[in-house]
Every structure is written in structure tokens, then in C-alpha cells.
Symmetry: C2
DNA sequence: CTCCATTTTTGTCATGGACAAATAACACCG
DNA sequence: CGGTGTTATTTGTCCATGACAAAAATGGAG
């Protein structure tokens, strides 16, 4: 394989670390140490990009960059070791079987296994239990280096299809509330949204799915146009946590007070104190709880 | 409505203009002219953000920023006028009916109308004719300012569900070729991929969908792991054309020569001269042609 | 141990200069 | 007059360095 070098923009894309951050790390910690092209622009070797990706992954777990970038390679791999991050979990065999199918690169078999598991367990159980566990297992396998990026993509794609299919098959909602589902710009993880849409639609709520990355102003407009009762946002664990609070505050200020604002996903848990009128939904089961609360309040 | 001020990061999110670009415009053209907070950081008034969004829209049509930012408000609104950009097109009524449904914010009716149209026309006709026309109609309506961003999101989301559902319903492929479908990082438009997947699966090709934004190195690994015969990439018209050629060249260099590389979507047409071993597929119908060519060559 | 104040860590923003790719403008020739 | 090659302008991205504020860690008092 040719030794390709990465520009700073390419590294930002591949790692999710901002250009400013990459430069300031170099200045402060002495890593990374990119070469320079004829014009003085940074050229990152693939090995350093790989290391940066691992660092980012560990940071998403809550570890601090100062320790990580100055750590030795051995310490890094030790941190990424199963024992360090993957608490043993109960597994009836279904999980590992599906993981193996992803690794086996057999799309058709993977799809039918997922479909079969969903039908066996029922949609609600599938979404509350199996899907989150699968997501975590995939994420952990990726961190341990057992999964390639494209294998994670393949999994996400299949799961996405399955969930959308399930949603399509559900009866049209009638009871309310009307829920606008989306993510903020920069947040492109879609599975959380789809799982939420499944649960809400199962309970008879009317979902208005906007997909990912809706600008804040347009979320407000959508809530108004669709006469929404709730706006539900999903933040993945990879989303820069320092940006969550300002985003949410700005959105809350723009929305009418009568519209509820729910936050879900791994990135919302790190929020210290939610502003007034914002409900953090810590898990998928919490959605059902929030829904029940809303309905109770609505009848009064 | 409170007069909220936007930080430079917020403006980048809402407009899609990079921070560096915003600063350099201010330096060169004298617009925008943000206020400053106590710490000297830029605070953009909402009116300027709105103007920036309009400028960005017009730039996506090919107009140049130098003219736009120094233009008067009147000139701007004149450029954004329907007559300036939207050639009338033949329309049997189905198109405008669906557009009206999107604007009517009735999710359930929109979904059933799309489903019905698909079944009436048959999947292949639907994808070759109606879907591209709808996409264009939506894009044009958006340019004219008749569509909000969230309305485009809603349309995309519904179409995505419909196409994924159609793909799931198709029989598993058996004939080959094996096609890896994805987009490069930064390219997040997914409808082109799904339409291609539909057509290919209809013809019995085995698709390996990786979703959007797969890093180049992982596209290569996926092609190898899945024993792919073809890698198909989709570039939307919005993708920065200056980046297409370097990306494609790099990918072509990394792939084995036996693996074909197909490019589709509006962003691939602006490619001056494709490198050796790269096939530009100018339209959706071209996919069927490329497929036929591949099969003919494979039998020899 | 809990809670509050202080220090360290960390990401983001500012300035001003530079360069290269893309585009427009222009001169030239058939 | 239309096509073509060359120069000029436009435009986005990158760099270096300095600064600051929010978040996290630390430490001390109750």
C-alpha cells in the first residue's frame, strides 16, 4: 500500500478532531508531529491518524486528552483492551452470533438474522434490549480494533433499514403527542432517532422525522409548522459535550414554552444541569416514561 | 422573539460557511459586520445570518460570492426570484401534488401518496423518472425559497424510508457483480445511493451498502473483504467540485485494477477528465448500461 | 465524606499574512 | 467572428501565535 499522507482537513474528517485542536495539541503536547509539504502545510502520516482516532475514541469514553496524547503506545492499547472497557455482559449467544455475521461479510444472512431476531423478540423488546446491546458491542469491537470502519457502516446500514421497515409497518398514529425528531448540525448518528421513532410510534404518538442535522432555526420552524408538542433531539456520545449546553439553550429560547424539549443519547447524559423546560431522557426506556408523563399532564 | 446574537460557530452551523470564510469575507468585502462581545468575539445579528443564508443558497447555484456580498438587498432578492432560476417543466400533476403534500406538513398522507405512486409506476420507472424529477423539484423549490430546510429534510426522510422498504422487499441477488455502494467523507446525500441500490438489486446484482461517508482506506478494505467487482460512489451537486478529482484518483490508486470504479450523481458530471479505470455514470439510466457492459465483459 | 474555592486543563476564537486552485478577462490567430 | 492559450483576479484554506473562559481536577475546611 502506498504511504498516503493526510492534510489537516482530511484528518479532521477522519478523526472528528477540529483543526484548531490538532494544531494546539501539537503545540502543547508535542503530538501529533506531522511532516510539512513544500508550502509548509501539515502532512500527517497514517500511523498518527490511526493513533488520533484511538485517542478520540477513548476521549468519547471520558478519558482526558492530556493523559492520552502523552501516553505510550502500550498504555494506549492497554486502555483499549477489552478488560479495561468492556464489562462482561450477559449474552445469550444472539449478540455474538450477529457480530460474527457482520465480520463474515454476508449481507443477506446478516439481514435475515436481524429480521428474525426482531420478530422473535417483538419490536419493543428488540429496541429496548437487543439493539442498544448490539450498538455497544459494535462500538467496543471497533475500539478494540476487531472491527473495521466499513464493518460498522455495514451494521449501521442494515439496522437502519430494519428499523425503518418496522416503522413503516406500524399503524399511523392517532393519539398524540406530535413529536419532531431530529439532530442538530454536526450530529449525524441516526440510529438513536430511529429507535425513538419506533418506540413512540408503537405507543401511538405521531412522529415527524426530519433526519439528521437540522439547523436550529429550522427545528423551530418545523415545530411551528407541524404544531408539534415535543421536539426530541439525539446526541451521540461522540458529540463534543461542551457544545451541547449552548445549543440546547439557544433552541429552548427559540421554541414556544408550550413545546417540550427532550434530549436523548449518550451525549446528553454528560449535561450537568438541564435548563428549565428541557428533559434529559437517559435511556430508551426513559422515552416511554417521558411520554406517559406528557400524556398525564396533557389530560389535566 | 428575543434578539439573539449568533457566535461565529453558530453561524457556521446555520449557514454552512466555514469560520475562516466568514472572517475573510469581513476583511475583504466588509460584510458581514458582526458586533463584538466583551471578549472581542464576533456576535452576528440575526438579519446578517439570514442574508448569509441567502448568499449561500445563491452560491450553490454557481453565483460568485464577490458579487453577492457587495450586492444590494434588492439585487439579492431579485436573484432569488423564481423567474431567474426555475425553468418550467412538464408535469403530469403527480409531481406538484406531492410537493404540495410536503408543504402541507401531512406526513401520513405524503407517505401513502409516495407509496402509491411507486406501486402504480413500478419500481424501475419510479426510480428512473419520478424520483429524479421530484428531487429536482424539491431542490428548485428550496432555491426559490419556497421550501424551508425542514421541508426538504422531511421529503428526504420519507423518500429514504420508501426506497429502503422497496430494497428490502426485493429478492436476494444471485447473479453478480458484487457492488460496494457508498460516498466519500463530507458527502452525506444518501438518496443517490439508495436509488442506485434499487436499480442494481432489481437487476440481480449483489449490493453491499455502506451508507455515507466511508473513509477512503475503508472503502478499499471493504472492497477486498467483500470481494467486490465494482465500487460505486455518489457525489451530489453540492459537493465541492475541486475535491472530487483528488479523492477519486487516490481511491483508484488504492483499489486493485480488477475492481471497477463508478461515479454517479450531479457532482461527478463536472469532472473534466476521468482517470483511467474510472467510469462516470451521468444518469441513473447509465447504471443499467454500465451494468450490462460489465456483464458482457465478464462473460468473455 | 461533602462542599466550596483555587488551580490546571482544554477547546475555541482573534489577527494578519500567505498561497494555490479555480475562474474570469484578455489577447491572439485561424 | 469563434476558438484557444495566457495572464489577472477571485476565493477558500492554511499557518503561527496569543488570549481567554468553561470544564475538570485538586485541595482544604467543615
Amino acid at each position: 500500500m502506498k504511504s498516503v499522507q493526510f492534510s489537516i482537513a482530511a484528518v479532521e474528517r477522519d478523526t472528528g478532531l477540529a483543526k484548531d485542536t490538532l494544531r494546539v495539541w501539537e503545540r502543547r503536547y508535542g503530538f501529533p508531529t506531522p511532516a510539512r509539504d513544500a508550502n509548509g502545510e501539515r502532512l500527517y502520516p497514517p500511523a498518527q491518524v490511526e493513533r488520533l482516532r484511538m485517542i478520540k475514541r477513548l476521549m468519547d469514553q471520558g478519558l482526558r486528552p492530556g493523559k492520552l496524547v502523552s501516553a505510550s503506545d502500550e498504555e494506549l492499547t492497554a486502555l483499549a483492551t477489552p478488560a479495561a472497557i468492556a464489562p462482561a455482559r450477559v449474552d445469550d449467544g444472539t449478540l455474538s452470533a450477529i457480530i460474527q455475521l457482520v465480520k463474515g461479510h454476508d449481507v443477506a444472512t446478516l439481514r435475515s438474522a436481524l429480521t428474525q431476531t426482531m420478530h422473535r423478540q417483538g419490536l419493543q423488546n428488540f429496541i429496548l434490549d437487543t439493539v442498544p446491546q448490539l450498538n455497544m458491542a459494535v462500538g467496543e469491537a471497533w475500539m478494540r480494533g476487531e472491527f473495521e470502519v466499513f464493518e460498522e457502516h455495514l451494521y449501521t446500514e442494515q439496522m437502519q433499514s430494519l428499523l425503518r421497515q418496522a416503522i413503516s409497518a406500524l399503524p399511523v398514529a392517532s393519539r398524540g403527542p406530535r413529536v419532531v425528531l431530529t439532530t442538530v448540525p454536526e450530529e449525524q448518528h441516526v440510529l438513536g432517532l430511529l429507535m425513538s421513532e419506533c418506540l413512540l410510534t408503537l405507543e401511538g404518538a405521531a412522529c415527524i422525522p426530519l433526519g439528521t442535522q437540522t439547523p436550529l432555526a429550522d427545528i423551530v420552524r418545523a415545530a411551528s409548522a407541524h404544531a408539534a408538542d415535543v421536539v426530541a433531539l439525539s446526541f451521540s456520545a461522540a458529540f463534543p459535550s461542551r457544545q451541547v449546553l449552548p445549543l440546547v439553550s439557544q433552541l429552548r429560547a427559540g421554541l414556544p414554552p408550550a413545546v417540550a424539549l427532550w434530549l436523548g443519547g449518550g451525549g446528553s447524559e454528560r449535561l450537568r444541569c438541564a435548563p428549565d423546560g428541557v428533559r434529559v431522557v437517559p435511556s430508551l426506556a426513559g422515552i416511554l416514561e417521558a411520554l406517559a408523563d406528557w400524556r398525564q399532564q396533557a389530560t389535566r
